[in-house]
Amino acid sequence: MHYTWDWLIFFKPSVTGEGLYGLMLLRGLWWTVLLSLLAWTLALGLGLVAGVARTLPNRPARYLSTVYIHCFRNTPLLVQLFLWYFVVPELLPVDWGNALKQMNPTTNQFLTVLVGLTLYTAAKAAEQVRAGIESVPRSQKQAAMALGLGTAAAYRYVILPQALRIVIPPLTSDFLNVFKNSAVALTIGLMELTGQTRQLSEFSAHPFEAFIAATFVYMAITYGVIVLMRHIERRARVPGLLGAA
């Protein structure tokens, strides 16, 4: 392979006159982290609601959340993102669509990806929550009811405390996936970590250094997430309950 390695490229000024090449990666990292954490927080809330709704006795709530989960879990994220970015503004009333399109482009791209990523991730998280709830023996709910608790109280005090502990490990995977999925943002022009890495590799003509560096950054992020989730898992453990050794 005829390739000129230059690991100092990150400390050299960019040809665009916008600072060092390394700064491009940092700027990308900022967007990736901001986008992923926000999307994950929102998705966790929405996923919890949708997951619980799928197991409720109330039929409309169950149908609504089933339809939502099926639509968003069974279509590619990239397709969803393109629909949000290119199609939705055209379906809105003309004034709204234009207002959306004339927004600051970075804000517009960020919000679009945030909506897309949140709804996609929440649909997956909801399925985890539902699986967790269903893994709690039915007799527990019946016992709670027999003690005079209503549906809300039974969920709040008996079912969810157990179900949510069970789903911490699978949710860790979803949390990791948010960071990796956030890279789709580059397809509509939001320059997060992968996007900036591509830019860096184009401007500097040092693609391998750029992508190797980005790989390590992603690994560091995901390792951090794993450590954090392990910690939460240990803290949340209740002796005598499932999975607590």
Binding site: M1, H2, Y3, T4, D6, V15, T16, G17, E18, F86, P89, E90, N98, K101, Q102, N104, P105, T106, L186, T187, G189, M191, G195, R198, Q199, S201, E202, F203, S204, A205, H206, P207, F208
Partner: protein, 300 residues
């Protein structure tokens, strides 16, 4: 000293070997690979119109694509190969340099600018096209000059030399342009067409081909003084003098024989089979005429 004659003869034979090597020009690099594997890998592009693209019949076509075809013929003739398998690999602006550098692709002829950073990783053939970045706007947009872009949304294809130029211009003049990045040439035009950006910056020839493909070409115009002339060349692996000489020879040969001019007419002045039949309509610029008189492989 009994060793001396021995050393001398050793040296002599080594020198002889070197001379013989120089005389026979043993194959190495791309040509050796082509001969050993009986195949050559050319890069293709999906929509780099009219340089390298898939036409309406799903066939690869384009000005630069045909140049790479001529190179294949020349390799076949020079190496006296009865048959040579031509493999193709579709590349994007982001993948083309790594794929040439790591020797997956032997030759990439499309709309690739020859510049100093890229020359660290790859070599460029004799220039076959000269462009300058300009602006594509709606005729009623009121934008005539670069300075009219202050505070506006402008779209540019990510990772291109046009993006670099726009960022430099914006940074230097503090124009406060919102730069929207599109991932390819099609998305670039979609962004101005849907009104997300008031103008698109690209190499002028690509803007003209976008107008030709627009739903209503009469709505659009190209404005602004061309910025920063750039030279398109074929990319090949670095430090491969023998293959570069062959490719350069093919291009200058085409220029001399008039084949280049007729190929130019075919792709830039006559209808091509994209989206029905469009005509790019881009007569040879003075820069191109100058290039034909003095072929060279220098970045501009």
């Amino acid at each position: 000293m009994i060793l001396k004659p021995l050393i001398r003869s050793c040296l002599a034979s080594a020198a002889l070997a070197l001379c013989a090597a120089a005389a026979a020009q043993p194959l190495d690099g791309t040509l050796k690979k082509i001969k050993d594997t009986g195949s050559i890998t050319l890069a293709t592009r999906g929509a780099s119109i009219p340089f390298n693209y898939l036409d309406d019949n799903n066939k690869q076509a384009g000005f630069a694509w045909e140049i790479s075809q001529r190179v294949v013929e020349q390799v076949k003739k020079d190496q006296k190969l009865a048959k040579l398998e031509v493999k193709t690999l579709e590349v994007t602006p982001q993948t083309r340099i790594p794929l040439v550098a790591n020797q997956t692709v032997d030759l990439e002829c499309s709309s690739t600018t020859n510049n100093a950073e890229r020359q660290n990783q790859v070599s460029f053939s004799t220039t076959f096209f000269v462009v300058g970045a300009r602006l594509l706007v709606r005729k009623n947009s009121g934008i005539k000059h670069w300075s009219d872009l202050v505070g506006k949304n402008v779209v540019v294809s990510a990772g291109t030399t046009a993006e670099r130029m726009l960022r430099q211009l914006n940074e230097k003049n503090k124009w406060g342009i919102n730069i929207i990045l599109a991932k390819d040439i099609n998305e670039n035009f979609l962004t101005v067409e849907t009104g997300r950006a008031v103008a698109a910056t690209q190499d002028d020839i690509i803007l003209f081909s976008n107008i030709a493909r627009a739903r209503n070409p009469a709505d659009w115009e190209v404005v602004g003084v061309p910025q920063q002339k750039e030279a398109y060349g074929c990319m090949l692996r670095k430090g491969d003098a023998a293959f570069k000489k062959l490719v350069d020879g093919v291009i200058t040969g085409m220029m001399r024989s008039g084949e280049f001019a007729s190929l130019y007419e075919k792709y830039f002045l006559k209808p091509i089979t994209v989206k029905g039949n469009i005509t790019v309509n881009f007569p040879m610029s003075p820069d191109m005429q100058e290039l034909l008189r003095h072929p060279n492989d220098q970045p501009l």
